[in-house]
Symmetry: C2
Subunit: 109 residues, 2 copies
DNA sequence: AATATCTATCGTATTATTGCAATAAATAAA
DNA sequence: TTTATTTATTGCAATAATACGATAGATATT
């Protein structure tokens, strides 16, 4: 087994989980924080900022790109990675919805 | 090597990633949604709601408990699982901080 | 005491993730 | 054309995560 049973959950539950998974690594958090705050978005800059090998950074960027949080713009010989505003707003809304839910009163209270 | 290099990132970056990891599975999203909305919080109810084996549900509950999002209250012979308001608010704040950051204007715009 | 109920844990199989060296690919510069 | 620069990909090793049957543990019930 070792594989998530995605088919038994709703599309939304799977989407939330996928977005969360994209954020579930400190390197990817660092990448996002950098792209949110700094003007520089060139891949090489990120490799310098992060204490990881170039191949590893490239892989994390690929994952963030795959989920849609980032998009890459080729600017030879460099590649510029940026936050995809559309997906970012989607993630903001989806997490916002969960966290704004008032916690139900149940048997523990 | 298959192990995250946590020591090269800040405590906060690691904490965000850990919280995100806890949300990075549709079953755990379903558990949280259930506990947020329903009054029932007994482990057995969750096992009935989720299309997963009892052992698997118990394991997901353990992870959510470990990160602090849930706490379990033994009520023999049942166990009542509830959202830990403190950690929930921490997560809300931590994700809120990221998503409220205005996206920097960079070379892609 | 024996039985039933509920939950946690163990063991195991399978797949996913992380990390990096090496290398390829693509373009700019010489 | 040759070389340098930048990024992606491949291949590999090691660890983590997912899932579930089987079983153990704890408490109620009979």
């Amino acid at each position: 087994m070792g594989v998530t049973k995605t088919e038994v959950f709703t599309d939304k539950q799977n989407r939330i989980a996928d977005l969360a998974k994209a954020l579930a690594h400190p390197a990817r958090i660092a990448i996002i924080q950098h792209l949110l705050k700094e003007k520089s978005c060139v891949c090489g800059d990120l490799v310098e900022v992060l204490p990881l090998a170039q191949a590893t950074v490239s892989q994390h960027l690929k994952e963030l790109k795959q989920i849609g949080i980032l998009h890459g713009e080729i600017n030879p010989p460099r590649v510029c990675y940026c936050i995809n505003e559309t997906v970012w707003q989607e993630a903001k809304a989806i997490f916002g919805e969960i966290f704004e839910t008032e916690v139900a009163v149940n048997c523990c209270k």
